[in-house]
Subunit: 135 residues, 2 copies
DNA sequence: GACTAATTGCGACTATTTCGCAACTGCCGA
DNA sequence: TCGGCAGTTGCGAAATAGTCGCAATTAGTC
């Protein structure tokens, strides 16, 4: 398992809980801490919710996962390697769609040129109505 | 004060609390429910937090205020007439800058053309580093 | 001025996330 | 291979944030 190196290389201890949290995030795509905990409990029922929160934070600090705010309030976590897309959150049906980062390329450029603002496209949710709800 | 007509015209009762909440939102620019409550309490100490929440919701339903998610978790409220700008939230210093909506015009157009997604620019926070923190 | 329905205040309650602390366990060095 | 230390976990308590039910109050109408 290459995971071992991955975590160890970041200076983290390799615990079963930590591996489970990381792989749960990877399998789920987008997930709230609650969902991650649920997923992890499927194979390791004793895991504590605090542990999930702490590991998400730890994994985020070393850059293996990242979180995004999708609107409601709670954060949503992603594996860092999947953060190659924007999130299109539908305000009506709540669905989360994806679009490639370069859809925003000129927007990002505008903000950089005009305001010196360096947009973090990966930590960025776009609100609106999805194609289905527009109708 | 034109406020009376404004609220009555929307079919709302004109209560002191409601006027205070609305004018607090207008004076504050961006504000969390907590900040609105604090502002209102300056002139009307007895007001209840629930009342603030309920009025923000009511005012939002009739279109006088709107909320945006600026990242952390809590919603931030604005007077509807001030929602003519994007929010540039700095992930480092936490400052909230503004940019005109049309900075995103072609981005919005891209999303509409390519994904049928109708972006709500007013309910939309952009994360990144402000000019000061980029340095 | 009186009636009705909307609104308020209050307290309880839920959900979400954080924290302290004792117990446990990976990992490093001998 | 063994031992010790620091990082990690589990657990319960505690902040935080927002919602809800209900009785009392009050704005708007006639």
């Amino acid at each position: 398992m290459a995971d071992k190196h991955e975590l160890r290389d970041k200076g983290l201890r390799l615990t079963p809980q930590r591996e489970l949290v990381l792989s749960a995030v990877r399998e789920l795509g987008h997930a709230t801490p609650e969902e991650v905990a649920e997923k992890v409990r499927a194979t390791h029922p004793g895991i504590n919710l605090s542990t999930v929160y702490r590991n998400l934070e730890t994994l985020e600090n070393v850059g293996l996962v990242q979180h995004t705010h999708l609107g409601h309030g709670g954060a949503t976590y992603h594996a860092a390697e999947e953060l190659t897309h924007l999130h299109l959150v539908c305000s009506d049906c709540g669905s989360v769609g994806d679009a490639p980062i370069n859809a925003a390329a000129n927007f990002v450029q505008n903000l950089a040129d005009d305001y010196g603002f360096k947009t973090d496209v990966t930590h960025f949710a776009v609100y609106g109505l999805c194609a289905a709800c527009v109708k």
